[in-house]
Point group: C2
Chain length 142, copies 2
DNA sequence: ATACTTGCAAAAGATTTGCCGCATG
DNA sequence: CATGCGGCAAATCTTTTGCAAGTAT
C-alpha cells in the first residue's frame, strides 16, 4: 500500500479503485520518475490510463482536488498555465529550477522557514502557505 | 507621460492610442498606501474602457504580452487561475497575499535576499531570479 | 434506501488566434 | 504601398459541473 493510501485512511478519505490508481501514480512519481518529475493533470491521467484505460480525466481532477484539500499532495503553479503535483513530504521543501536544463532541485532550509514566519508576523498576518522558487544556472567546477 | 510610455520609447515599442491607455492604467495602479492592486486582465480592461469604451479585451491581452516581453511590466501567477500585473520596479520586492480578501502586501527583506543567494550558491547555482510568495490570514487586533 | 462516485459531455473561465478592415509610416 | 494594429468572434486550453447510472454503506 502506498504512502498516499495510508494517508487517505488516516484522513478518512474513501479509497475507490480509481483513487487507488491515482494515488499509486502520484506515489510512483517520486521513485520511478525521479525528483524532477512533477506531473500535470494530463500526465497523471495518461499514467493512470495505463492501469485502467477507462479512467476519466474528470475523475483525475476531482481526485487531485480531494487529495490536495486533504493535504495529501501539493499543487505547484510554475509559469506554464497549468498545475503540477507532487506527494506531500514530511518536511516542507522548496524548489530551485535550473534555467538551462529545467531540472528541479529540491531543498530544505530551516532558516528560510523561520524568516518567512517572522516576516508574515511583522506584517500582521498568520502564515498559511508560502512559495519559494529560485531560478539559477549551474556553476561550473574545474 | 507615464514611466511606462518612456520605457516603450526606450525599447522601441510603438505607442498607439490603445497602448497609451493601457500604459496609463497600469502606471496608475501603483501602490499608494500599503495595499496595491495588482490588476488582472479583466480589471485592466474595465479601467481602460472608462477611457475608451471601444477598447477590446484582445488588445489588452496583446498589449500586456508585449509589455511583459519588453520587461515593462511583471506578470504574477498567484494561486487564482489568472494572471495579475504590476509595473516593473527598480527594487525587487516580494508579496504576501491575504488568502481571505486577495489583498496583496508588498515587502522588501534584505535578509531573505541574502539567504536565497547563499542557498543557491550552496547548491552549486548562480541565482538568476527568484520568487517568494507568502499566503496568510490577517491577525485580528484587539 | 441513502449518500457518495464515476463517466460523459457540456459548460465555464482565461487566453490566443484568424480574419479583415483601418491606421500609420 | 506595405506593414502593423485593433476589433470581433471563433477557437484553445485547462478546469469545473450537471446529470444519470453505478457502487458502497
Amino acid at each position: 500500500m502506498s504512502k498516499i493510501e495510508e494517508k487517505c485512511k488516516e484522513k478518512g478519505v474513501r479509497l475507490t479503485d480509481q483513487r487507488k490508481i491515482i494515488a499509486k501514480v502520484i506515489s510512483d512519481s517520486k521513485q520511478t520518475f525521479g525528483s524532477k518529475d512533477h506531473p500535470d493533470v494530463d500526465e497523471l491521467h495518461k499514467r493512470a490510463s495505463l492501469i485502467d484505460k477507462k479512467i476519466s480525466i474528470a475523475t483525475v481532477y476531482r481526485t487531485i482536488k480531494l487529495f490536495e484539500e486533504s493535504g495529501i499532495l501539493i499543487r505547484h503553479d510554475f509559469k506554464e498555465g497549468k498545475s503540477r503535483y507532487e506527494p506531500t513530504t514530511e518536511e516542507h521543501h522548496n524548489h530551485l529550477i535550473d534555467i538551462n536544463s529545467g531540472e528541479i532541485v529540491e531543498f530544505v532550509d530551516k532558516e528560510v522557514e523561520e524568516l518567512q514566519n517572522k516576516i508574515a508576523q511583522k506584517l500582521g498576518y498568520k502564515l498559511v502557505d508560502h512559495k519559494l522558487e529560485l531560478y539559477g544556472s549551474k556553476i561550473k567546477k574545474n
